[in-house]
Symmetry: C2
Subunit: 403 residues, 2 copies
């Protein structure tokens, strides 16, 4: 039985992981610090923001991931420790040091992650007390508390876990993510942490994670803004007892499948919890002249404020969709463009689909989740993205976040 | 006395122009059709949308501008006549034909412009009756009515006029514009019509207009969406009696100045009337490594939803500004970035400006109009854009527009 099975739990679902989520008091009354620990050093891989402004913690993680081994991840919400200069880097290092000392593990195997406001010095007194609390609270059932502690404007925690048989043993993988705004899929987006008890060779783990991120976190967009702290980390501690996996192992595709599934599930959870979102929309472009054209057209539509606000208004305003395709930079021949809302034709040959009643389109827009497919009818390339609408609630949330 | 003077009026301020604005009943109860007529054929120049989806009327104007002469412009709001196929083009031609017949002028000297909903057939019965009414209503004081008739979601009409002495005679220039949403400065943006009684050679007029658009309508952004009907037209009928102007005339810079001033004034009026806007912000980038980098960074900040919503919240959230610079694609060295809000330093060397009290920044954000200047401190190139915030009202307007 090699079929993948969804199981309960998240970051502590796999063997040999403990976690905690506690209240350090960094910003408000909610839990704001998570700690994830593997019982043994684990092969580790990571994908980080491509933003040229990077948080101190991202710079530290990028240094440490070169070693390819991790044993703990300390995460705080409420403060991004970004644009905080030398002191920010000292604070990030100090956080890792404290965790290493308290757990008696090597400092360079501790990863540090922060999310929250940019440009504010870390409240290190609270952070240090919080780390002590988190170490005390570590438990094999702590995944749920950890997932809640990394939330910022998220309204729901985001966790999922799977198991399947690989190389004759049961392998588990679990993960958690946070992110609701500042989400644009250009490289790793938001924070996501994944643990597996599979034994996996580090270079194989990295290439597997990079490919998985490409088809998941890089295919979602909430608002087109890309954070300077985006981080995805995966730990593989080998506690499942399998022979170490890499591309040459016959069951390698089964593991890749698990990583793809967990990243895609977490990515969708992020869009579904997009700030103020009321609609979840898969935008697809087919028939493009090149992969780049398909990508441009998809992202132009998904990031158009006018398109997003029309979804919020449940308005089948395909004019804004074709307009966004037109200025995307992709090759477009107006009288060849077809647009479908789910399976209802809205545009045929660049004009309103005469046989479709407006009410049919309106019925699609009333759904919480629907798809828009744009066929450029020029070439054979396609792309897609998973996105959401832009509501008054989004503006409300983001006009109030910092102060 | 060669100084430029602002005078009353708009599109009919210059000699030899009549206009009208009337209610054709295309969409609602407001005036929705404007007609501008020059007493004599005028040298004409135009700049049109670079969107690959172009309204039928834009295609018609692009054909006719090749001739370089115009005598009338018929404009309707409420329907964009875009994505309307062959019938749309027939309707655009018919509109011009009717105007030409009623005014006894040549058909190929009539320009047609439409703004409103995309993809809806033109209500030609109403349009034809409207054209008859507009011709009857033509008057030398009709500029104001015309400016009001081209408004869609605009809350204010946008018109301005100037006069100055050129080549020994008094020359006047007047213009009007509309546009509040779907505004992104990639080529000509929105509708703008300008008339002057100067005599100007057509090729000089075109190069002058193209350059003027580059430093005005192409430097404003409301929401990053670029319309498929954007049009700027200028008519120069020579009624001022000056010797025809071109680049070789000693007073040519004076005329260029007038065109620059009128386009910039109209462009600013558009941003100041941005849909739901409560803040008007000039974003500048200096010290960039290349002109392209400066442009990328400016536009990334001006189009960031998170930056725009923070302005709405009067929140001096410079973290979102530096984040948007970071993902803009421009060369950025984090610890060299300085950011000013008006003359208050927010960021110095990539970190919070220690000497600045938060209240000083908050006071800038409370103003209706302020500037943000980002110094990348890498090179010598700069760029700027004039933009506005994104409010709940923007979302409200755009979720209700079509239906």
């Amino acid at each position: 039985m090699k079929r993948m099975k969804k199981i309960d739990g998240g970051i502590t679902a796999a063997k040999g992981y403990r976690a905690a989520g506690i209240h350090a008091g960094i910003k408000g009354p909610k839990a704001d610090m998570a700690l994830i620990v593997s019982d043994a050093p684990a092969a580790a891989a990571g994908v980080f923001t491509s933003n040229k402004i990077k948080g101190a913690v991202v710079k530290l993680c990028m240094e440490r991931i070169i070693g390819g081994v991790a044993q703990a991840i300390i995460v705080n919400s409420g403060n991004a420790n970004a644009c905080t200069g030398e002191q920010g880097m000292k604070d990030a290092v100090r956080m890792g040091q404290l965790v290493a000392d308290l757990l008696h593990i090597q400092e360079d195997k501790v990863f540090v992650s922060s999310t929250g406001t940019i440009g504010v010095p870390m409240p290190m007194g609270k952070i240090e007390r919080g780390i002590n609390l988190a170490v005390e609270a570590l438990s094999e059932t702590g995944g749920d508390a950890a997932a809640k502690a990394i939330m910022t404007t998220d309204t729901k925690d985001k966790q999922v876990a799977f198991e399947r048989e690989i190389g004759g043993v049961t392998v588990r993988i679990g993960g958690m993510a946070k992110g609701a705004g500042m989400i644009e899929p250009n490289m790793a987006t938001m924070l996501s942490f994944i643990t597996t008890d599979a034994a996996v060779k580090q270079t194989a783990l990295q290439s597997c994670l990079s490919a998985a991120v490409e088809q998941s976190f890089n295919k979602i967009s909430v608002d087109g803004d890309q954070s300077c702290n985006d981080t995805v980390l995966i730990l593989a501690n080998g506690m499942a007892g399998n022979k170490p996996l890499d591309e040459s192992h016959p069951d390698w595709p089964l593991f890749v499948d698990m990583v793809n599934e967990i990243t895609l599930t977490l990515a969708r959870k992020i869009v579904e919890d997009g700030e103020g979102a009321t609609k979840f929309v898969m935008v697809s472009v087919v028939g493009a002249a090149s992969p780049k054209d398909a990508r441009k057209a998809v992202r132009s539509v998904a990031n158009s404020l006018l398109v997003k606000t029309s979804w919020f208004g449940e308005d089948p305003n395909w004019g804004r969709v074709i307009d966004a395709v037109g200025y995307s930079g992709a090759e477009v021949v107006e009288n060849q463009v077809d647009i479908m809302y789910d399976d209802v034709s809205a545009v045929k040959n660049g004009q309103v689909a005469a046989a479709t009643a407006l009410s049919e389109l309106e019925n699609v827009l009333k759904k919480r989740s629907f798809s828009i497919t744009i066929n450029l009818n020029i070439g054979k390339y396609s792309d897609w993205i998973y996105t959401c609408d832009c509501s008054k609630e989004y503006v409300q949330i983001n006009s109030e976040y910092m102060t």
